[in-house]
C-alpha cells in the first residue's frame, strides 16, 4: 500500500441553519473549496459521506447527484453511510482507494442537510442510528441513549453533571474562535446546568445541535503530493475502523465504547504511535458524556477519569492535549455526514500551521475519531505533518 497525503481541505462557508443552501449546494461548495486548496485540475474518483439524505430531503443516489453538480461526470462516485461516522468512513474509503493504487486523486466529501424537516422529524431520522425496533420503538431518543451511558458512568466512576458542563464550555471556547461554527460563542458551566433538561442528566447544552453543513478533502499518494501541492502535505499515518453492537443494551459494558478502543489500538499500531505522541485530537462529542468515554477509550486518560479532563484544563487549547480545537460537534455543529470529514479538515489545518487563534503550537501529529450511533461504528485516523 502506498503512503497517502491530504493535499486539500475545505468546508462550506458557514455551518448552521442555512435555509438558502440545499444538500447539493453545500456539498459542491465544500468540494470546490477543497479542490482549490489542493490546486488539482482533475480528480479520479469521489466519495459522498451522508447519513440520511433520504429521510431529511428525500434524495438518494448522491454519487450521481454530486458528481453531476461538481461537473465530474463520468468519474466514479460512491455514497458511504455509517450513521454519524459516514464522513470518517468515506474518508477511509478514499484513503484505501489511493493507498491501493486504484486511483491517484480522490475527493472525499461529507454533507448533511438537516433543517428542511421539523426538529421532531430530524430527531426521528437521527434515531435511525440506533436499533429502531428494540431501542427507539420503546421511546428512547438519542440524548436518552447517551443519558443511559452518562448515568452508568456517574454511578460507577462518580462523574458529575458539572464535569460534563466543563466539556461543553471548553468546546464553545474553541468554537468562539471558529468563524464557521454554528454556535460560535462562549457559555458558562452554570449556563449548561441551568439549560433545559433533555434526558436526565443531559441538558440541551450537553447535546450537539442539528446543523446544515459540508466538508471535503482531497487525497493523493504522498510522492505525488510533494509535486502537486501548493501547501505542506499531511500524511495519513493510520486509518482504522471497527464495529460494535447496534443496541446499547447489547454491550457488555455500557460505560465503554469498545469500537473506539478497538479502532484506536489498530490505529496506534499502524502509525507506530502512542496516545502521548498526539498533539491535537478531534473527537466525536455528540454529547458531553461521549467526549468523556472517548478520551478513556483513546487511552488519553485513565479509565473512569474522563470527567476530569476539561475541568482540569488537560484538554484546553493550551493544555496537555488540546481536544476539539474546532469547537467540536457541540459548538461547530453536527451535520451528521460532514462531521468526520470536518475533523480531517481541522487536524490538517493544525498540522499545516493554518489554524490562527486556534493553533496548537508545534502540532505535528493529530488524531480524528468519528463514531456512529452509540458507538456501533467507529473510524480513527492519525495524521502527521509530512
Amino acid at each position: 500500500m502506498r503512503d497517502v497525503a491530504v493535499i486539500g481541505v475545505g468546508l462550506n462557508e458557514k455551518w448552521g441553519e442555512i435555509w438558502e443552501k440545499s444538500l447539493r449546494d453545500l456539498y459542491t461548495e465544500a468540494a470546490l473549496n477543497a479542490i482549490d486548496d489542493a490546486g488539482v485540475d482533475h480528480i479520479d474518483s469521489m466519495y459522498v459521506g451522508c447519513m440520511t439524505s433520504g429521510m431529511f430531503v428525500s434524495q438518494e443516489h448522491l454519487g450521481s447527484l454530486m458528481s453531476d453538480y461538481l461537473g465530474q461526470n463520468p468519474v466514479p462516485a460512491t455514497r458511504v453511510e455509517s450513521a454519524c461516522a459516514s464522513g470518517g468512513v468515506a474518508f477511509r474509503q478514499g484513503y484505501l482507494e489511493v493507498a491501493s493504487g486504484a486511483s491517484d486523486i480522490v475527493l472525499v466529501g461529507g454533507v448533511e442537510k438537516m433543517t428542511d424537516v421539523s426538529g421532531d422529524e430530524a430527531t426521528f431520522a437521527l434515531s435511525a442510528a440506533a436499533d429502531m425496533e428494540y431501542e427507539c420503538y420503546q421511546g428512547i431518543t438519542f440524548p436518552g441513549l447517551y443519558a443511559l451511558v452518562a448515568r452508568a458512568h456517574m454511578h460507577r466512576y462518580g462523574t458529575t453533571p458539572l464535569q460534563l458542563a466543563h466539556i461543553a464550555v471548553k468546546n464553545h471556547k474553541n468554537g468562539s474562535m471558529n468563524p464557521v461554527a454554528q454556535y460560535g460563542f462562549e457559555i458558562t458551566p452554570q449556563g449548561v446546568l441551568d439549560s433545559v433538561m433533555v434526558a436526565d442528566p443531559l441538558h440541551i447544552l450537553d447535546c450537539s445541535p442539528i446543523t446544515d453543513g459540508a466538508a471535503a478533502a482531497v487525497l493523493c499518494p504522498l510522492d505525488l503530493a510533494r509535486k502537486l501541492s501548493k501547501k505542506p502535505p499531511v500524511k495519513v499515518l493510520a486509518s482504522a475502523q471497527a464495529t460494535s453492537t447496534i443496541a446499547l443494551h447489547s454491550r457488555k459494558d455500557m460505560t465503554w465504547f469498545d469500537s473506539t478502543a478497538v479502532a484506536a489500538e489498530k490505529a496506534y499500531k499502524m502509525a507506530g504511535k502512542k496516545p502521548q505522541d498526539l498533539h491535537v485530537v478531534e473527537l466525536h462529542d455528540c454529547f458531553t458524556i461521549a467526549e468523556v468515554v472517548v478520551l478513556e477509550a483513546l487511552g488519553l486518560v485513565e479509565r473512569g477519569k474522563g470527567g476530569t479532563t476539561a475541568e482540569s484544563g488537560m484538554t484546553a487549547l493550551g493544555g496537555k492535549i488540546p481536544v476539539n480545537t474546532s469547537g467540536g460537534l457541540k459548538s461547530k455543529g453536527h451535520p451528521v455526514g460532514a462531521t468526520g470529514v470536518a475533523q480531517i479538515v481541522e487536524v490538517t489545518r493544525q498540522l499545516r500551521g493554518e489554524s490562527g487563534p486556534r493553533q496548537v503550537k508545534g502540532a505535528r501529529v493529530g488524531l480524528t475519531q468519528n463514531m456512529g450511533g452509540t458507538g456501533g461504528s467507529c473510524v480513527i485516523h492519525i495524521l502527521e505533518a509530512a
Partner: protein, 130 residues
Amino acid sequence: MANPAKYWREIPQRYRLEAGKCQSCGEIYIPPRLVCSKCKSRKFEKIKLSDHGKVLTYTVIRTGPSQFADQTPYAVGVVELDGGGRITSQIVDCEFDQLAIGQRVRVEFRRIQKHGQAGILCYGYKCVPA
C-alpha cells in the same frame, strides 16, 4: 401509514419476551438471531425470558419524540432480566426519584405507541417496580 406487518412480526418478542438461546454456548438473544455472535453456532433453542429483572441504567426523557408526546416525561432504562436477556424498556408507575441502578422491576404488557387517530396501536413491554 406503515404496513402492520412491521409490528406484527415482532409480536412474539414484544408481547411474550420470546428469545433465542444458543445451543452451543448458552448466549441469549432478544430478538432471536440466525447466528450466535459469541460462538458462531447456527443452532438456537426458543425460550421465554423471565418477566422479572433489575435496572442497569436509566434516564428520564423530558424532550421526547412526537409519538410519545402524551407520555412525556417518562423514564426509560436498560433492564437485565433474571436468567439472561437485556431489554431497553420504559419504567412506569414509578416516581422518578425512585429510579435506581439495581432496582428490581417486573415486566408488563402495555401500549407503547399509537399512530394518530385511526392508525396502528403498538403494544409491547414496559417495566414497573417489583
